[in-house]
Amino acid sequence: MARAIINVPAQAKRGEIIEIKTLAAHPMETGFRRTQLGELIPRDIIRRFVCTYNGAEVFRVDLHPAVAANPLIAFATVATESGTIAFQWAGDNGYAVTETASIRVE
């Protein structure tokens, strides 16, 4: 099943600011909702998102229950060199997703 949609430009000029958009499939259950019978639905959220560019961390997010389902995380970074941009999501109940994208920098 689709775990995340990532959008990284395929190529960029050296020093150019690029915009990266990520969309993770996750219910982001806050832990405050109740079922029709009154039972509390336990918290199940993504807690951390990390983006690494050729191994070096360039962006990090700590998420909290206020973030809605299927969180869209969009940010900008500087295109320094060609290589791999990796995205890691970690959350409750052992949720761990990794996606990568390649970028060519001239």
Binding site: A2, L23, A25
Partner: protein, 153 residues
């Protein structure tokens, strides 16, 4: 829908509905049921075979003798052709398949057949659309025909 809202909707990178479209694509190619066939086994590549399909649904189904919408059409294929249990309405799988099939009609105008078979159902729908009902004694047409483009408050 306003131009900015529509461009947000059309941006595949940020529209969460795309997650369901991608799931639907995976389900399209997955074998299912006692017949052990995927949708792709009969319909091939949805990008060509499903073009225009969502635009002409609800369509009259001769066997059922009534119109069926896209979800019902998918379930008919599942039970009759794939020999698989029908998917529950609003389940992730059915939403995903419907989103994927409907996606192939993106940009196409609605193209429902208006003929002798579908006319009684269309007339009944029109009558319900214009009938006042409920606690506020409102008909659908009063907001959606007479006051489209405006806001409630």
């Amino acid at each position: 829908m306003g131009r900015e809202t529509r461009s947000m909707q059309d941006d595949d990178a940020t529209n969460p509905g795309m997650l369901w479209v991608l799931d639907g694509e995976a389900l399209w190619n997955r074998k299912a049921g006692a017949a052990d066939r995927a949708c792709a086994a009969c319909h091939g590549d949805a990008r060509t075979s499903m073009k225009g399909v969502a635009a002409r649904h609800p369509a009259f189904d001769a066997a059922a003798r009534r119109p069926v919408n896209l979800e019902q059409r998918i379930n008919l294929c599942r039970s009759e052709r794939q020999k698989a249990p029908p998917l529950a309405f609003e389940s992730r799988e059915l939403l995903a398949l419907t989103a994927y099939v409907a996606r192939q009609s993106r940009g196409l105008p609605i193209n429902i057949a208006i003929d002798a078979r579908s006319k009684p159902f269309l007339d009944a729908g029109s009558e319900a659309f214009h009938r006042r009902q409920g606690q506020l004694n409102l008909a659908c047409s009063q907001c959606h025909d007479d006051n489209w483009g405006k806001r409630l408050a």
